[in-house]
Symmetry: C2
Subunit: 331 residues, 2 copies
């Protein structure tokens, strides 16, 4: 095994306490012994066991747990960066875990985090069932949700203006003369899914247009399904002249479908991406600062860590969205 403080003490011919104090830079250690200890540490390759220290001091683990659905989604990668930004400032490390949109796994993960006594948890819930995210059932570890408001539990949340962004982008399509607009959405059971759909519907209604169910598909779990759904919408008689896609997966799918249909259908979608301005068809996207969401979530959870009594506030922070128009000269 690794050397312990006892070993160092024996080697330096002092008591473990002197080693402990030296390692803590306690000024009340005689310079001579201090250097003996340091030499012993170097000779033995000793490294203090932080876990044991934490146990004794009753201190925190300085670990932040993050449960997201999929780190490969650039949105979550940015979120992760934002969380790390803030965590780093406080000397904290971040434990990431992917839930894969599975609530059971999400529950498992947060329980594991609680058992490990992480200082706080940031979660992007896979669904609308949040009972397992209640700090009350998680050894009182503070929880902050991202991208979805809490359902029947009392925790903070950092949200995106899903409704506003969708409303604005859809309205832009309408302003450009489109009257029949398709919608590729997310499961209605998720907050994001229902809010974005609500934005689409509200924009249509504000313009006096009716929602046509034949133009709406709301459950495409991957790009291939999105392509298929978009094709189904475009293959109808009297198809829509524009499509709104509720996330990047659907935007990519719609893009492929539109391209194979001649590229004359206008497209708008939630989530910006790197190549949006390099594609060969025009595109409107709803953009936002995902990194900021992570940063704010980390701030909120750290607030609870610093002040454990401040729990029952259930704050909401909404991050704004911005619509960007990429004219992309069509082929």
């Amino acid at each position: 095994m690794n050397p312990t403080m006892r070993d160092v003490a024996d080697y330096a011919r002092v008591s473990p306490m002197t080693v402990s104090r030296t390692l803590r830079d306690d000024p009340s250690v005689a310079p001579e012994k201090r250097s003996r200890v340091l030499a012993a540490v170097a000779a033995l390759g000793y490294r203090r066991n932080e876990a044991a220290r934490t146990l004794r001091v009753g201190g925190s683990t300085k670990l932040l747990g993050v449960v997201i659905t999929n780190i490969a989604n650039p949105f979550y990668a940015q979120l992760a960066l934002g969380i790390e930004d803030h965590a780093d400032k406080r000397g904290m490390r971040v434990v990431f875990a992917n839930s894969g949109e599975n609530t059971d796994r999400e529950r498992q993960l947060v329980q594991d985090f609680a058992a490990r006594r992480l200082d706080g948890i940031i979660a992007v819930p896979a669904a609308n069932q949040h009972d397992h995210l209640d700090p009350a059932g998680l050894a009182a570890v503070p929880v902050v949700l991202a991208a979805s408001p809490p359902h029947r539990i009392n925790v903070d949340a950092v949200l995106l203006d899903d409704f506003g962004g969708t409303y604005e982008a859809t309205s832009m399509l309408i302003a450009r003369g489109h009257r029949n607009i398709g919608f590729l959405g997310l499961p209605a059971a998720t907050w994001t899914g229902s809010e974005r759909y609500r934005g689409y519907v509200a924009a249509l209604e504000a313009a006096g247009l009716a929602v046509q169910d034949r133009f709406v598909r709301r459950n495409q779990p991957h790009v291939a399904a999105a392509v298929e759904a978009a094709n189904a919408i475009l293959d109808q008689p009297d198809p829509p002249t524009a499509v709104f896609a509720a996330n990047n997966r659907n935007t990519i799918g719609a893009y492929r479908a539109i391209r194979s249909h001649g590229g004359t259908t206008a497209l708008a979608g939630f989530d910006d991406f790197d190549f949006a301005d390099l594609l060969d068809l025009p595109l409107i996207v709803v953009s936002y600062d995902a990194r900021e969401i992570g940063r704010v979530a980390a701030e909120l959870v750290c607030g609870h860590i610093d002040n454990p009594s401040s729990s029952p506030l259930a704050r909401r922070v909404v991050i704004p969205t911005k619509v960007i128009d990429y004219p992309n000269a069509a082929s």
Copy 2:
């Protein structure tokens, strides 16, 4: 504070040992006491402190540390997924930290990981200086490198066929008749940077072509710099008719520059990406399974965890690359 095992024991009117045994599913606990304990656990919201348990049992933390340069790079996001894939199978969690291409920070991070007694560390080194990644200086925590072979330390590594992929893609450009081929590279001090350059040079030489320094730029830290470098190459009299870009950042930069120069320059680049087939210019990419790199790295590090004596082998696993041609009808 959180309830402890003592609290549960008192509540259930048994000894702490009985609680301990019950929580471990030790069959030698009377059903009646067992249910009393379980009830107490539920009533108090008790959760065993895994850190304390680990201390006593001498067990592992079941944490894997990962140091990468930037999780926002899709390559590292995939790598992260691969690592998690394997870690999950073993009930391990993953601590991610970004070094931001900074070796000092990288050292800080791995030392923090060692102090926390993580079971293993996977690192994508920021530079060619690896002394701080030697397990000997890290409380003997096993280390595996990804994407770069170890320099003067004795650890396993999972590599990419940087040379072969670049050679093949460059050769494809040559086969299409290009004689003057630009190169947008990475810092020569990094393994990846020198290997990919070596592949470019070897392909030229194999075809009897001379390397022309005026076509080579090797240090673009972000897309804007890559655009600038590509412009500088293309603005020369008698510019190259093709460009090889050594990573996704450079490919994007080159793409933008080529586009603004009329789009007649052929482009090949290391790293595939989502929209490669949706762009409005043809493109050749060197593709590979980044997730597999992570999976293998996790396997290797777990091998050392299971068998601590197997350290001094310094195995190398090379993940193959594949060249993909995206004809992308030009505008």
